[in-house]
Symmetry: D2
Subunit: 424 residues, 4 copies
């Protein structure tokens, strides 16, 4: 077994610190749980330039705590290996030179067990940090570190899927697959939302990323949004109607991707005999009509919406429409696929990341943080599209109305789908 | 001389048609005037994938009239050469297969003089069209055709500059260069604009593109905008301050371009001894501090603004601030450079295209036109940034508050610059 | 007309110089004759990286004389334009920096007529050189210059064909096309050649390149060589037998090219309805079965030979077999296609360049020349295959038993074919 | 421990079969020994397109026996996993579709321990094969299989070095490094060899590849060959003399590689402070002057020879000169570097693979084998250069005068060096 069980936590007196530390170590433990079904080989290889090896994710999230928390805040902290900063920095120019991203898969050393030891070393020191009152600033850095690691947990899962989908043996990451869905998810319906001046963005308590601020007012027009995400069944209809062969449905850059990449279906779909199948974290499965479509690019989502006579919602329409939506079910290894629509409804959180019509841009008055965390979000505010909602494999705490996810419009390896909107 | 003088126009009875026809044939004539200083060689070569040969522009704008106007509206129109549709369609999927864009420069045939003959044939038939009352729909297509050709006129000039800048002989396109500018353009000042709900987009009379509609309300915050564009002198200060060597100033994709392309200065700048020079349509000239900087990408503009402590305006801030700005001077071959700032002021129209902070996206309720013109604008609404204003070499009639120009954020071969904004 | 008639030569007293000067100026004139049917546009564009513009060939061959002959040997020679050395040096590192090869097509300036003026200036000075006795070394440099220009004449023709074949109008370079060939070229027969020690390479009088020396002995085995080149008809049979779909016939690198480039027929072949056509300097023509196949790569030639049960001859087998072959007919604009086989025979000189099984390597004891001419041949002695014979469009004087032409095994834009050999 | 000890062999009655089986199982065991110091991670990753993962080598050599020996010759053989043929076929078109070479590193499954199980399964069946008299043809296939696996053993070592050299931690594959060499290897001397007709190629007993046949006569001129390989010390002198900055020393394609790849030293050399170091299978070591230079391309070897006033020998000169050379020392994990020259002598076998001036081409009368083994050697006979000798890490039995190794002239990741020759 490549990954040892994680040692139990020690108690801590401060009540609030206890809760923070509980969340911290639960997060640290979940990363190991995600890696557990993987061999050292699986953890090491980089499926493609956009993806990273599991082992790299495990080490990078650890380096993040070491670099931003332990080095500045824990007196006499001993660095585990001073060469790891070069290996496991992702993109922080302010934190020094780093290993090139497309070559992360060449790092067979440190081995998977050495990365586990690195994690144990950092975790032990994180526990020591909790033994005394915090210095100023540490708390919010721990929050960032937790949220950072959770984001990487989702990437670990999508990157593993990319790796296993490239393997002719089509291995399954886990075996506790959900039951086949009912054949139909229900017709669904349009829900009307009133326009006017609405406030969007993060307000009030709880953690949020800098890109959700400042909260501000936006002017919306009346609009409608659909009660469920677009399903695989609808996508099959789009394919059968020649959607991938009709340039007038597509943005110019999207049509360029269709032709250049030879897209004919969502990523991970393949024909087995006469039946469309889909590679999933549970291995190859027949495509189920009632589940939300996944692994489509913005270009595909936008073309589908045009074909269907609707459009994508803007990120603010989406945000306003999502207020009052139910909280998603907790993260569960037995539910790594979006649940099928039922009676025409699929929830806005916890199914698929839903492409919006909005480019990822700063909010009015946005200021990047000082220091290295200023590189976390702001420098990516160009060329990417906002996704809202959160997927079946998104960690708890990463789904809220103001949360902004973002990817390039051609990218498909995340669990991405769409929900239609239309003018009122 | 490669291009013959254009024959004079015949009279027409209908007063309104006269004015339309006058504008049509004046536009047609200007295209030939732009090509006149060029040899057949110059007109044929494609400087790079983004650019097109002059000859191709001359033929493509002609095909546009032939295809959309003469074929449907002029009875018994004889097509000049039925192979030209393949050669000179740009990107209209609905109008058939076409020659690949990066290979436009391979079309040594038809020759430049044959393209002139093609233009004469189409122009003569356009005149015949004016001899009888119009069928429905033709008038607006002529308007589109005029505006289309004018857009290509600006591209002809920027594409010629790209071609001549790639020539080690650094040829001058024209010799009637403006005088050197005064050393300083003045300090300039911030102008305050009140926020609130403003109406933007095209309203009322006159031609406008579909992408300027529907006019709609937007909610702005109070902001300030600067009285002049950023100058070459300021850009030199940015360079000397290490702007091109400081990753924290840049968007991630921008820094990738700096490193990948080796950017160290605006496009067309080169050092001659100790002095920065700039390749222009008048040949190589020393960089003049008081003129607006040109040929910078969005990435560079955005980084400069960060360095300068400001930001780029959104397209709507820009539009509101431009209401009441003076009309630009008419197009003039002796003024193909942006005029220097005077007393700290440079006008918002007719100097440089000014990058905004807004992605080129459809307005709420935007609908593409039916038919081939639906491909004119809408399918490019992704991945590009909006520019506003209009450059020294922009044709008359293409500068108005609601006009939206758009290019990819890495592109630099247009006459692009910037003007700073800031929060109030 | 883009190219003026060439002025007549003046007389010269020295008998030998007369003959040399006659050949020199006849060569110079032929280059202009080759360019004559071309517009300035045609002369300027570069069809692909491997090809060069006609205008560039005209200027480069002129620079060769200016640089190597006039500058060192003609007192008080005035350089026509000192920037041309940068523009028109091809690959001589010892003669300074130069314009990048793939960007030769961007040189719209100097114009075609300026290149003609450059040629006239250099020619006039070459005539002045002949007015006095030569300094030592000039004679052989003139010989090299003539032969150099002749090599470029063939390239001009093949590069024009590449350009016109990329034009959807499929223009004809010349109209004096040969008559369609008889349907069959005859069965042909094997000719036996005795092995043993043979001398190969250049001996005795007349010009030869350094790569033909030193003459030396080689040991050959008995072999057979076919009486004619492989014909289009045979190539069609290869295609119909699935030659391009059968990996076992191909070298690994060849099969990589078939798959990577999508080869399904010789270059310039295209289907018009049910009939294979071939783009030629006379425009698009039906493929004629009796003519030698042309525009095949080494990979294709080698695969064909395997399919046919033969093999390619080595360059030395070819050379020995060619001794006593008839001299080819003089260069003729009405015969720019290889003549059809007659009665099973096609001559070894003047039809197609015939791929051999030999890599282009130095002969034992080969020494590169001192100075810039040392870069002429020797530095290309790697990765290329030797071709022997000479094509229909090869200039007179470039076909002799010891002559070694060479190209990379994937290249197809030269007039290349093959002749089978086999073990005795 | 990733690799289990190999089980002992059972006895066999046939004396000759015993010896064959001894060699077979010793070879099989050595592959596991080579993999033993490697973690599953190390065994899985592909350092670059030219290299393959250790695990892939282990499985591919096993598939070779399964496919060519067990399936046809062992009755009732049960295939281990019928999907492995797709995964582990290298390039045999005749044996079906296969996983793309540049994606071998994506095969995290089967895991390293599953590949070991695959090997055990095949080995057990190979032992069963030896329990009965052989059917016709099996013996020579076993010989080929042994030699094939030995070739892959060398590749395993060079591919591991490529992987570890790409790791910023610069791991050592093994620790039993040889002592530092004496500072100087001795001056060396020229050895004269008489020309005339010599016989080359494989004759007589013992295994040889098809590419060593037919033995045939060649005609050589008198020549000289040096008593030792070129050393690191000499290479440093070449570097200090500006060898990598002087285009006149290089073939055109070689100079293109120098400029395109930024070559400034042999592969794996790097500066640490002021001292050149070299990444080796024992980790990073200072460059030792007396050892033969390694990891240079043909282009570099050829340029060095020109700079040194010599040339590379042809493969036949090398072969004749090597007759009577001492047999190399047995393969030894403590001697994975070429031994330093002593008293000016380094042996021709067992130090470095020595680039020759000969392209890898078929011998006169060469015929590919029938069936899949016909793809073993013949289809690579183009574009590659012959190397002779054998390196410190070459397995026993792969060094003989007639042995022909071959690589592309730009490749450097094999243990390649050179020895000078000159005309008599
Ligand atoms: Fe991160
Ligand atoms: Fe257009
Ligand atoms: Fe040349
Ligand atoms: Fe193999």
């Amino acid at each position: 077994m490549p990954l040892d069980d994680y040692p139990p936590l020690t108690a801590a007196s401060d009540r609030q610190q206890l809760k923070l530390s509980e969340r911290l170590f639960a997060t640290r433990r979940l990363s190991l749980d995600i890696a557990r079904p993987l061999s050292p080989e699986d953890q090491t290889v980089q499926a493609m330039d956009d993806a990273s090896p599991t082992k790299w994710h495990l080490a990078h999230t650890t380096w993040f705590f070491e670099e931003l928390l332990l080095k500045p805040f824990l007196p006499a902290y001993r660095i585990f290996d001073d060469r790891f900063a070069y290996c496991f920095n992702s993109y922080y120019n302010s934190l020094g030179e780093r290993h090139p991203r497309p070559k992360r898969g060449l790092l067979t050393r440190p081995r998977a067990d050495e990365v586990i030891a690195y994690r144990a070393h950092v975790d032990e020191n994180l526990r020591r940090l909790f033994e005394a009152p915090f210095q100023e600033g540490a708390r919010s850095l721990i929050e960032v570190g937790i949220n950072h690691e959770q984001q990487h947990q989702e990437l670990m899962l999508t990157d593993i899927l990319a790796l296993f989908a490239a393997n002719p043996l089509r291995p399954a990451y886990r075996t506790e697959a959900p039951e086949p869905a009912a054949l139909e998810g229900g017709a669904g319906e349009w829900r009307a939302v009133k326009g006017g001046i609405h406030e969007v963005g993060h307000r009030g308590g709880g953690f949020a990323y800098d890109n959700e601020s400042p909260a501000h007012e936006v002017l919306l027009r009346d609009f409608r949004i659909f009660s469920r995400a677009v399903t695989n069944g609808e996508w099959l209809a789009f394919m059968e109607a020649g959607g991938y062969q009709t340039p007038s449905l597509w943005l110019a850059d999207g049509w360029g991707a269709v032709e250049g990449e030879g897209w004919r279906a969502p990523l991970y779909w393949e024909r087995v005999g006469d039946v469309w199948h889909q590679m999933t974290l549970y291995g190859l499965r027949p495509v189920e009509a009632a589940r939300p479509v996944t692994h489509v690019s913005y270009y595909e989502a936008e073309a589908f919406a045009r074909w269907a006579g609707g459009r994508l919602p803007t990120e603010f329409e989406w945000e306003i429409a999502s207020l009052g939506e139910p909280q998603p079910a907790p993260f569960d290894f037995a539910r790594l696929l979006p649940s099928p629509a039922e009676d025409g409804v699929s929830p806005m959180f916890g199914g698929v990341w839903e492409w919006t019509a909005s480019t990822y841009l700063p909010y009015p008055g946005f200021k990047s943080l000082e220091g290295p965390l200023g590189e976390y979000n702001g420098k990516f505010m160009c060329n990417q599209m906002v996704l809202r909602g959160g997927a079946a494999l998104t960690p708890d705490g990463h789904m809220r109305p103001s949360y902004r996810n973002f990817f390039y419009p051609h990218q498909r390896w995340q669990m991405t789908g769409l929900r239609l909107a239309s003018d009122a």
